[in-house]
Amino acid sequence: MLRIPCPCCGLRDETEFTYNGSAEAPRPTDPEDGAAAAAYVYFRANPRGWHAEYWHHAQGCRRWIKVIRHTVTHEIAASGWPDEDLPMPEAAPNTGKAGR
């Protein structure tokens, strides 16, 4: 279980949140552009490393938040509001290896 720092409520259990995928793919603004929409919906990066993503504190303050999480170690580098520009750490932290 992860513990996620909610900018409103502080450190809370993962079970209070729901996940909604990448915060790195902005929604296309042109509703006529089918290719951009298809890329937005279906072709998401699945990085091994740091990843900006949206979580919903559904069982808490009900705010959507942005979280910078390492997809291998689950380390969380930062969290903030969806429109915040959170810095992405440079390299993987030395806290673990991939599970085998």
């Binding site: 279980m1 992860l2 513990r3 929604r27 509703p31 298809a38 919906v41 705010r63 959507w64 969380i76």
Partner: protein, 992 residues
């Protein structure tokens, strides 16, 4: 083996006898005993039969790593199979039975499996039962399943309760041995909050049992003092009988506290077990180690036991395992067992030390008259249900001698219990100097390791490491302070151990006792190229029993390394996963069992429904009235009566469970335009509009109504099932996609009680019941909404219809629901008003062709449901681009159709496949399916909605024909494909 009570142990009090039964025989133990120590004290050496070969087995270890002595504990509904006898604390009246034997433990029919041994090698079930093919399911598998397995679980419901609880702490210390106690005391001294979890009932770990001294006194004296110090510190919580089963990300640990397993029944108000979720800033793993058995022929005979287990039985429980013991070892540690046995007056016939030059410890033993045989190991034992002698083998020369004994105590060295340190993905690394796999953790935490779990054996080093780890963990938690130095204790001395993975001798030499895996099986796996240790494990099932290979894994790695001619480092370990020891499923459920698994949601009118004969149906967590049946009336008859009454007069229905959302703000209309596929910007105040919501992938998400109550105030309804997801979707749209819009929203589902009043007489009922509202056709036209106050209660009247009749929905604050309901019933009495349930609601919506859950199934798009024209053609909205993706216009997409049988008396069934009449009747030719289906009293026959490739495809006014296939009931019904709206297609009734 002929065990007996030799003295008083650290834990036991022989003056307080405790009666118990094993396999029907009455025995007496002492207060403080475990089932294992009490049985050994009574001279019992045979505990059970092995899994595959049904070989007689005795006690091997004295901890949670025990692979052999598994018993069925308690009786009736509290029966618990596979209980490890050394972990079962004795209580008066305890009842246990041996497992995996028939008809009795001493005479077991399936022991004949031993004769079939050559057939039962690793992977035998992949090779042996291949022919004839059809026999696998009918003969071989049931036979193997009957023969295999250990205990039997009871089918009765568990009468006890299980609890879940939470702890927050700076430092969690796993293990209450000297390293763990030093860590806890040092972290606490530095000022940290500490939780200490110890698996057994006793703090102190091995040191007191080994007879060690700390600070010039018996180790137990120091343990008692530290325990008292921790108990007095309100920053510290000590949990005994608590196993930390797993470590998870971000300092989360799961621990199982056996609150009442040591009692016959839990005390009033207490759970049997408690599952702790512990959130710690730093964790010290001081989980100790497991002694390894030696691998030699017949090493599984009852009477062959780990040297440390025999030592603990004597010092902890005052029980000697035999009268004439032989010790076989690869290291100094087992000498402690010899000394303790000699202290208790037990004969130690010989010490077989595999090391050619055993060093100073052997000299010390020889000095007190013990016979030490250097370079010697056991090559076999004489006896099957007990040990009568051991064959000592000189490893260098191949010579040897037979030594009479009644117990053989073995030690193959110590394996650090690294399990928890690896749960987050850090594999342990091989240390040549320690001949062990040790944890590989970052120096700065958050997981620290100390003591034997780190590969450290000397008492003084364990204490130094414990203190260091405690301070480091406290610092990691942001608490820096200092702690007293460790007291004086024994330092490392003596000679290093030797690695002896297998004694070179012929015969069945067991590596994994619980799953009956032999050294030969490992060799076979290598020959058949299951070389990777992960493949070896799965092919032989080594380490896959309930003990998860605690006593066997490292021996197996050593043997495989030898076979492959590489270092154990190259072989590596298999992956350790939680839980560390088996965990009762009940602890995952806690109190959330039966009706407590999920909340039950009830409408404000629930009690009225219950008093008036409603049959309830579950709609998600909600309970909704399905029908209001009369005595003797069937579900079908009640439904038809309710539909006829609504269509001919008037009825009312509780629709409070529909999701409701309030939306406010100057940008609310703009927001709705982005949220819904259809347009809302121009919706006038006082009007309601159907709303179709898509997902970003263009598929239909939900539908409902949107009412404009003011320029900047909207009231939204959703389907019952999607109330939560739609609100989350709206919050996402606002907070993530369009934060610049000035809107706010909140759920109102449980603020408003909503009642649908439907039928040609509904206007007259409302006029009478709600005089404050003008409900005439001109004042409140179809799709209008009015807010007002009736008798001091805020009231909303919507003219909307799901039934297709003239209809309204009236909403009042939740608590006023029943008053409104009874007022409407009274006003409607002259018109024959009745309440109707979800069945009648369903019939009428199918008659009108409204899509609902079965049609809004996540795969359908607006055009599939005949709603393409609703979608805005300009401006952005969620799902717009993908709704026009080329796949959306595939002519082969199933689309919504109405279906009716060609012969009026034939029934239709939801789930039936739709086939071309001329096509072969196979799944591959299916053109779609019947999604919703009911008998229509209005039409006088069954009607259905379906999703059908090609849709209606009218051919010059002749309806398309398909077959509704329901092979489960051998029904093949000719149906006509028609318009989905069966009743009042021009809508004259609802516009009345």
């Amino acid at each position: 083996m002929s065990g007996f009570r030799a003295s008083t142990g650290l834990f036991t009090d022989p003056r307080r006898p405790i009666g118990f039964r094993f396999d029907g025989h009455a025995y007496q133990g002492a207060a403080g005993d475990t089932l294992a120590s009490a049985l050994i004290a009574n001279g019992v050496s045979l505990f059970g039969r092995s899994f595959k070969y049904h070989r007689p087995r005795g006690l091997l270890s004295l901890g949670s790593d025990e692979p052999n002595a598994l018993v069925e504990l308690r009786s009736g509904a509290r029966t618990e199979p596979n209980s490890r006898a050394p972990m079962v604390e004795l209580y008066e009246g305890l009842v246990a039975r041996s497992q995996n034997r028939w008809p009795s433990l001493r005479f077991d029919v399936q022991a004949a499996n031993q004769l079939a041994g050559p057939m039962l090698v690793a992977g035998f079930y992949y090779k042996t039962f291949m022919w004839p093919r059809s026999f696998w399911k009918s003969v071989y598998e049931p036979m193997i399943r009957r023969a295999a397995g250990l205990g039997r679980a009871t089918l009765a419901p568990d009468p006890d309760t299980y609890e879940q609880a939470h702890l927050h702490t700076d430092v969690l210390v796993v293990g209450g041995g000297v390293a763990g106690l030093m860590a806890a005391a040092s972290a606490a001294a530095a000022g940290a909050r500490v939780v200490l979890a110890e698996e057994t009932a006793h703090l102190g770990g091995r040191a007191p049992l080994d007879g060690e001294e700390i600070d010039g006194a018996a180790a137990q004296t120091w343990v008692d003092a530290i325990a008292a110090q921790l108990a007095a510190d309100d920053k510290v919580r000590v949990l005994t009988r608590t196993t930390v089963a797993g470590l998870y990300d971000h300092g989360v640990a799961r621990a199982i506290e056996r609150v009442a397993d040591h009692l016959a029944e839990p005390p009033a108000g207490q759970p049997r077990q408690r599952a702790w979720t512990i959130r710690a800033e730093a964790i010290v793993v001081a989980a100790g180690g497991h002694e390894r058995p030696l691998v030699f022929p017949d090493n599984d005979r009852p009477g062959v036991m780990l040297a440390s287990a025999a030592r603990s039985l004597l010092t902890g429980y005052g029980v000697a395992v035999g009268r004439h013991c032989v010790i076989a070892t690869t290291n100094d540690d087992a000498y402690l067992t010899a000394y303790r046995l000699v202290d208790a007056g037990v004969e130690v016939a010989a010490i077989l030390d595999a090391r050619p030059e055993p060093g100073p410890e052997a000299a010390r033993a020889a000095a007190i008259g013990l016979r030490v045989l250097p370079g010697t190991a056991p090559a076999g034992v004489v006896g099957s249900k007990s040990v009568r002698a051991v064959d000592a083998l000189e490893l260098a020369s191949g010579g040897g001698e037979r030594i009479a004994c009644d117990a053989l105590l073995v030690s193959g060295g110590w394996t650090p219990a690294v399990h928890l340190t690896t749960h987050l993905g850090r594999a342990p690394v091989w240390s040549d100097t320690l001949a062990a796999f040790v944890p590989d953790l970052p120096k700065d935490g958050p997981i620290f390791v100390a003591g034997t779990a780190a590969g450290t054996l000397a008492l003084s080093d364990c204490m130094t490491e414990g203190r260091r780890a405690g301070l480091d963990a406290a610092a990691r938690a942001g608490v820096s302070g200092t702690a007293p130095p460790r007291p004086p204790a024994k330092a490392l001395e003596g000679a290093p151990p030797v690695a002896l993975w297998q004694v070179p001798a012929r015969g069945k030499a067991f590596v994994d006792f619980q799953n009956d895996v032999t050294a030969k099986d490992l060799a076979l796996a290598q020959r058949e190229n299951y070389a990777s240790i992960e493949h070896t494990k799965r092919y032989t099932t080594l380490g896959m029993a309930t003990d998860q290979g605690k006593t066997s894994a490292v021996n197996a790695i050593g043997i495989v390394a030898g076979l492959r001619g590489v270092s154990p480092a190259e072989v590596g370990t298999t992956t350790f996963r939680p839980p560390y020891t088996p965990v009762a499923v009940a602890t995952f459920a806690g109190h959330a069992v039966g009706k407590h698994h999920a909340p039950t949601r009830r409408s404000g009118l629930h009690d009225w429904h219950a008093r008036h004969g409603a049959t309830f149906v579950e709609a998600g967590q909600w309970l909704r009235p399905q029908i209001y049946g009369k005595p003797g009336e069937s579900m079908f008859d009640a439904t038809m009566r309710e539909v006829r009454q609504v269509r001919s007069a008037v009825g009312l229905c509780d629709v409070s469970t529909l999701g409701k959302i309030d939306l406010f703000g100057p940008d609310a209309a703009t927001f709705l335009n982005l949220l819904y596929a259809n347009a809302f910007a121009k919706l006038p105040v006082g009007k309601v509009r159907y709303g179709l919501m898509l997902r970003e992938d263009g598929h239909v998400f939900d539908d409902g109504t949107v009412s404009r109550l003011a320029e900047d105030r909207f009231f939204i309804t959703t389907t019952t099932a999607n109330a939560g997801p739609v609100l989350a979707h709206m919050e996402y749209a606002h907070e993530v996609l369009w934060p610049e819009l000035d809107v706010a929203m909140c759920t109102a589902t449980e603020q408003w009680c909503s009642i649908a009043v439907a039928g040609p007489k509904s206007r007259e009922v409302l006029a009478k019941a709600l005089p404050a509202f003008d409900v005439s056709a001109d004042a409140l036209p179809f799709m209008g909404v009015r807010e007002g106050v009736q008798d001091g209660v805020a009231t909303r009247v919507f003219r909307i219809s799901f039934s297709g009749e003239l209809a309204y929905e009236v909403a009042v604050p939740w608590g006023h629901g029943e008053a409104l309901w009874t007022r409407l019933l009274a006003a409607g009495e002259p018109f024959g008003i009745i309440p109707y349930g979800t069945e009648a609601l369903g019939v009428m919506r199918i008659e009108k062709g409204h899509p609902a859950g079965p049609e809004l199934n996540g795969h359908t798009m607006a055009q599939d449901l005949g709603m393409a024209r609703l979608m805005k053609t300009s401006g952005d909205f969620i799902g717009r681009a993908m709704a026009h993706h080329r796949a959306a216009h595939d002519p082969d997409r199933p689309v919504l159709v109405g279906l009716k049988p060609r012969q009026r008396d034939q029934r239709l069934r939801a789930g039936a496949h739709l086939l071309d009449p001329d096509a072969p009747k196979t799944l591959e030719t299916s053109l779609g399916w019947v999604s919703s289906c009911q008998y229509s009293p209005e039409c006088g026959h069954w009607i259905a909605l379906g999703l059908l490739k090609g849709g209606r495809r009218d051919d010059g006014g002749v309806p398309r024909r398909v077959v509704a296939a329901y092979p489960l009931k051998n029904e093949w019904v000719d149906v006509l494909v028609v318009d989905p709206c069966f009743v009042d297609p021009d809508g004259s009734r609802l516009h009345a």
